[in-house]
């Protein structure tokens, strides 16, 4: 069987197996085994991919598999990966694996919980391997829908409201996206040729510029909503705050990356002309996102809100870099997606664990946790340092690649915006240190905190997995960067065929 298809089959089989499990213990063991297998599989995929490339296979996509499943609209189940998707799949596996362990003690309807969670993961995997726009969209929806249940049933706080808001806004995005994708489909081939959803085929054709102008905003905003594009980001703070731990992890860690990945793979890649013409609008919006999210985070009191705003800022940087449309910035965007996925997942995992002990997420009610739970605190500090871009951890690699890449842009307007975006590193430091100071350091504010226990073994597995990944990317980024770079070549070539020019405000 095609290795990529396995990525969809394993979760589905796992979900089925969970359906037959008798109690919570069996459920979580099955889930952990399934997702562990998935993690191994993705490690193997990385290995297989690198071997293929080393053997001189220069095809744009590897491990392709094609099956027609809806003939009248020419919809295929077409899968294939390049370095970028491989990296994203790796990210997904790690986050899902950590997420399973982070939700080890979900007792209420645990079977249903894990099934939904794994269903969500299925959608994400499917999205990353698909090369057929329709199938991609299908998996996208598969990923979004379980979210509603997961937040609505297992969430906390105003969960119904948040779930509804999140789902509606993402569905709104899907609606825009559907328009964009259909438009692309109808212009996917030159006159007379059969229409196609195949991404690679479409990229060989040039969609008429007038149509691009019309379709690009739909597609970009449609994906951008998932990527927390200002001002469509408000689902994110509420949704994250209400979601249960693993869902926040998956959502911020992986699902939001679908937005960035899609915006890049579909919107920019297929419609480079319109992208260049309209980049300035979206650059302004994303640069706003970056700073706005960071400033917004300073003032929050709830840990999850802080992290949600921080995600807005970091994901804004992803879209910002994508819009710069040069190889280095794009590379940075991908690394940033991975890096942010890992560290935000780590953050949410930690917040969940801390919340499970202190029963509050308000930073002004906490303090001095370093003394009572050193392990969790140290990991929290590491996550914080990764988030504020400390060298040696993944955030630095990503941000620097983006900044250097974006600053190489020939246009002064773009460079100015880059400088504005770099200011976020200071603001990020401010809110991260504020949280670390208020949460972990200082005297213990509440006596019953003295009796709290440090991390249990499954929590250690969950966090250590993520920390190792963060540190590995941070210390030796070259292989990842190279893997992505090779795959960016054809895309950058396609982008350079665009005849439009960048619009500059200067």
């Amino acid at each position: 069987m095609n290795i990529l298809t396995l990525f969809v089959i394993i979760p589905v089989v796992t979900a089925f197996a969970i359906g037959f499990s008798k109690n919570m213990k069996q459920t979580r063991v099955v889930a952990a085994v399934g997702m562990g297998l998935q993690l191994l599989l993705s490690a193997y995929l990385v290995y297989a991919y690198l071997t293929e490339r080393a053997a001189g296979n220069v095809a744009e996509m590897l491990f392709m598999y094609d099956a027609l499943w809806f003939e009248s609209l020419n919809i295929h189940y077409l899968v294939g990966v390049d370095g970028i998707s491989v990296a994203m799949i790796g990210l997904t596996s790690i986050v899902v694996f950590a997420g399973i362990f982070a939700s080890w003690e979900v007792e209420y309807l645990s079977r249903e919980f894990f099934i939904s969670l794994i269903l969500l993961a299925t959608g994400v995997y499917g999205f990353f391997i698909s090369l057929d726009l329709f199938t991609m969209f299908l998996f996208y929806e598969v990923a979004v829908i379980p979210m509603y249940l997961l937040i609505g049933i297992w969430g906390s706080g105003p969960k119904e409201y948040s779930a509804m808001k999140l789902t509606l806004m993402l569905m709104g995005g899907s609606a825009l996206l559907m328009v964009g994708l259909l438009g692309i489909y109808f212009y996917s081939a030159p006159d007379g040729a059969p229409l196609t959803w195949n991404l690679l085929e479409i990229s060989k054709n040039t969609i008429p510029v007038e149509m691009q102008r019309f379709l690009f905003p739909f597609t970009f905003i449609g994906f951008g909503i998932l990527g927390a594009l200002f001002p469509f980001h408000t689902w994110s703070p509420d949704g994250h705050a209400s979601a249960p731990t693993a869902v926040s992890m998956l959502h911020a860690g992986v699902l939001m990356k679908l937005g960035g990945y899609g915006a890049f793979r579909v919107a920019i890649f297929l419609m480079p002309d319109a992208a260049q013409e309209q980049a300035w609008i979206f650059l302004l919006l994303t640069a706003t996102s970056v700073l706005y999210g960071a400033f917004g985070a300073i003032f929050q009191k709830d840990l999850k809100y802080i992290n949600a705003y921080s995600s807005v800022s970091h994901c804004g940087l992803v879209l910002f870099a994508i819009l710069m449309m040069n190889q280095t910035a794009l590379n940075g965007a991908i690394i940033q997606m991975i890096s942010h996925g890992l560290m935000t997942a780590l953050f949410f995992a930690l917040i969940g664990m801390i919340y499970g002990r202190t029963h509050t997420r308000m930073i002004n009610e906490m303090g001095g946790l370093m003394k009572v739970m050193p392990f969790l605190s140290v990991v929290y500090v590491i996550a914080g340092l990764a988030s504020l871009g400390l060298p040696g951890l993944s955030g630095f690699v990503a941000e620097m690649t983006i900044f250097v890449g974006a600053f190489q842009h020939t246009d002064a307007f773009h460079r100015t915006l880059t400088i504005a975006a770099t200011a976020s590193i200071v603001v990020t430091a401010v809110y991260i240190l504020r949280v670390v100071g208020a949460l972990l350091l200082g005297p213990i504010k509440n006596d019953h905190f003295n009796h709290l226990k440090d991390a249990r073994w499954f929590e250690r597995i969950s966090t250590v997995t993520l920390v190792v990944a963060i540190a590995a990317i941070g210390m030796a980024p070259l292989w990842l960067s190279n893997m992505i770079n090779v795959s960016l070549q054809p895309i950058v070539t396609k982008l350079s065929t665009a005849t439009s020019t960048f619009v500059s405000l200067f």
């Binding site: 808001k165 509606l168 806004m169 200002f230 001002p231 469509f232 980001h233 408000t234 689902w235 703070p237 509420d238 706005y292 400033f295 917004g296 300073i298 003032f299 929050q300 705003y309 190889q327 280095t328 001095g368 370093m370 003394k371 340092l385 504020l388 871009g389 400390l390 060298p391 040696g392 630095f396 690699v397 620097m400 690649t401 900044f403 250097v404 890449g405 600053f407 190489q408 002064a412 460079r415 880059t418 400088i419 770099t422 200011a423 590193i425 200071v426 430091a429 401010v430 240190l433 504020r434 100071g437 972990l440 350091l441 200082g442 005297p443 213990i444 980024p477 070259l478 960067s481 190279n482």
Partner: protein, 640 residues
């Protein structure tokens, strides 16, 4: 010169990293003292390797009369950015990096040894040594950086290790906020550094130091380019980079974190906030000195004035502080101002580069005597458990070794010959005199002030009236006094190093002489400062208060550090928090989110409006169905 002969310098980086990881991951498993010994042993090896390198570089491998070359002992690609720009990690050896290697490893080793005694019994003993190793690794990496981006990487790392060490007593709120402040202020400066790097790399398409400073490289041959507000792109880039350096080196107005950083354990202050990390800014400017000097003289002028003003500013404040560590902190700031000024007034090449040589020379001697002073202060604090000099007095009889070594430090910093401070300071004054008479005047004044406030401290602590101590102060153990003696030795004799033959702006040695026209007055003013201090503080008297009240507002201003902290507090809390962050948060909740909710509510409302159609009443449905059918029939039959 074969490259391989120096490849072992890589170990200088790897050993502290290894001991950091070892102590950090396994330190809680064994006795704390073992962690300390691991860290110290690692540093000992590093120090030996550094001395070996220095001897080999400066003397063994050097052919008399030729320029010192700079070469990479090791280099590997860390991250590939664009075709031209790659971030490499490596080891660059040239006169200043080798000199810094000696400084960092010496001071760090001394501090490690000292800490074995000073931190004994502390709860986070292993953690402390882990962080020290991390710091040593980062600082050495910074010093040996082959390119500006590697420097930035380690720049951030020293920042974070400084943060961790300042906040070592993490349950003390003041330490937590001091560490936060240090990190954020330097982070803000680092933003300038980063922007500078971006601009520089955009213009020159390289990060590499050797390429940047080579005479036919893209930086030095760069002409024209975009001009913004009357300054060229290179000037802007270098000014931004200097902001980074100024932040790390606590130059006015980014100095506010340094006095607060004294919340950290005293050995940390000696290592990070006196001898090594804070001079990183000086080192950075020295690194890029050819570019500053040739392409962006305007930026260099800024460096000179910022350095000069900072040194004066800090010296004035130092005269009024009572916390001995804060006095030393302001003194550090003042001395770094000297170094900056020295670089700022320097020219490039030959004797013109006197300032460059003097700045580095002062960096070297300052590291010795300031580390000595801090460690001495640590010994004092260790024995009386207070930072406040008003609670001390007549300590000379309890702490004889500390007393002598501290006195040596004070004389050195005051610039009395033949101790090392005299030589380096004298050359800075000469360079300043050649360049700008006002800057010279400032520095001349500062020389007097320095002598005054150091001896004020000295007399207050070691002489004066005996205070009531909780328990009799006692001399520190050998493990703490030996580093003091070693550093005192360094402070005395470092001045005799032929620095002008080793570290020069273009690598070529030149002859430097003592300029008596400058040296004699500067020694005199130092003596005046000492005398004044002697008169005022030898015995506890009312004289200081009289002087203070005579100076009135000026004294109060200096005592309150000229209210710079308050200005920052105002800017951050009032402006950024209240007028940016809070409105952003409000805007997000109410306007952006409100719009989304409004859309949701509108849809809900309109659905209420049309809900009547879905009444669930069969007859209503029937009615609508039938009328609809009739209408359709009419339409299709008659109107179509």
């Amino acid at each position: 010169m074969p490259m391989n002969a120096y490849s072992y310098t890589l170990l200088i980086l790897l050993i502290p990293l290894f001991s950091f990881l070892l102590i950090g991951l396994t330190g809680h498993k064994y006795k704390p003292i073992i962690s300390g010994l691991i860290g110290t042993a690692g540093l000992l090896i590093v120090a030996v390797l550094s001395y070996m390198t220095a001897i080999k570089y400066f003397w063994t491998d050097h052919v008399e009369g030729t320029a010192y070359t700079s070469f990479k002992a090791f280099e590997t690609t860390w991250l590939h950015l664009t075709d031209n720009l790659t971030i490499n990690l490596g080891v660059l050896l040239d006169p200043i990096s080798v000199m810094m290697l000696v400084v960092v490893s010496t001071v760090s080793l001394m501090v490690h040894i000292y800490s074995l005694g000073y931190m004994k019994g502390e709860k986070g003993f292993a953690r402390f040594f882990a962080f020290l190793s991390l710091f040593s690794f980062s600082m050495l990496g910074l010093v040996l950086a082959t390119n500006i981006f590697q420097m930035y990487i380690f720049w951030e790392l020293v920042g974070v290790s400084s943060f961790l060490l300042i906040g070592f007593y993490y349950d003390k709120p003041s330490a937590v906020s001091a560490s936060k402040k240090a990190f954020i202020v330097t982070r803000f400066a680092d933003l300038g550094f980063l922007i500078g790097i971006l601009m520089l790399s955009f213009t020159t398409q390289t990060f590499d130091f050797q390429t940047l400073v080579s005479s036919d490289g893209p930086a030095l041959t760069h002409t024209g380019g975009a001009v913004f507000m009357g300054l060229s792109a290179m000037t802007w880039a270098l000014t931004f980079i200097f902001i980074g350096g100024a932040g790390k080196s606590a130059m006015f107005p980014l100095h506010i974190w340094l006095p607060d950083a004294m919340e950290g354990p005293t050995p940390v202050s000696a290592l990070i906030h006196a001898a090594t990390m804070v001079v990183a800014g000086v080192y950075l400017v020295a690194r890029l000195f050819p570019i500053y000097s040739i392409v962006a003289p305007d930026a260099l002028t800024i460096v000179a004035w910022v350095g000069g003003l900072s040194s004066l500013f800090a010296a004035i404040i130092a005269c009024t502080q009572n916390d001995i560590k804060r006095v030393l902190a302001y003194s550090t700031m003042s001395q770094i101002g000297y170094m900056m000024l020295a670089l700022g007034v320097s020219g490039y090449g030959g004797h013109d580069g006197l300032g460059f040589m003097a700045g580095n020379f002062h960096l070297f001697t300052h590291a010795m005597f300031k580390a000595l002073l801090f460690l001495g202060a640590g010994a004092i604090i260790h024995s009386v458990h207070s930072n406040d000099m008003r609670e001390m007095g007549n300590l000379r009889k309890y702490l004889p070794i500390t007393h002598i070594t501290f006195l040596i430090g004070c004389i050195t910093i005051a610039g009395i010959p033949p101790l090392s401070g005299f030589f380096s300071k004298d050359e800075i004054l000469v360079a300043a005199l050649h360049h700008n008479i006002y800057l010279f005047a400032i520095e001349f004044l500062v020389a007097g002030l320095t002598a005054f406030y150091m001896f004020r401290l000295y007399f207050n602590v070691f002489w004066g009236k005996e205070r009531h101590y909780h328990h009799t102060p006692h001399e520190s153990p050998l493990v703490m006094t030996i580093p003091l003696m070693v550093l005192a030795f360094g402070a005395i004799f470092a001045g005799f190093l032929p620095f002008s033959e080793l570290v020069t702006s273009d690598g070529l040695p030149f002859e430097a002489h003592i300029n008596y026209a400058v040296a004699v007055p500067s020694v005199l003013i130092a003596l005046v400062g000492i005398t004044v201090a002697f008169l005022m503080y030898r015995r506890t008297s009312a004289a200081p208060d009289k002087v203070a009240s005579a100076l009135g507002g000026f004294y109060r201003g200096a005592y309150h550090k000229f209210y710079i902290d308050e200005v920052y507090l105002f800017v951050t809390h009032k402006i950024i928090f209240r007028y940016i962050s809070q409105p952003v948060a409000w805007f997000d909740r109410h306007i952006v989110d409100g719009t989304m909710n409004l859309i949701g509510n509108t849809i809900e409302k309109s659905s209420y409006l049309i809900k009547g159609f879905q009444s669930g009443k069969v007859q209503q449905y029937g009615y609508v169905f039938i009328s609809g059918t009739i209408l359709l029939v009419i339409i299709f039959v008659y109107l179509w």
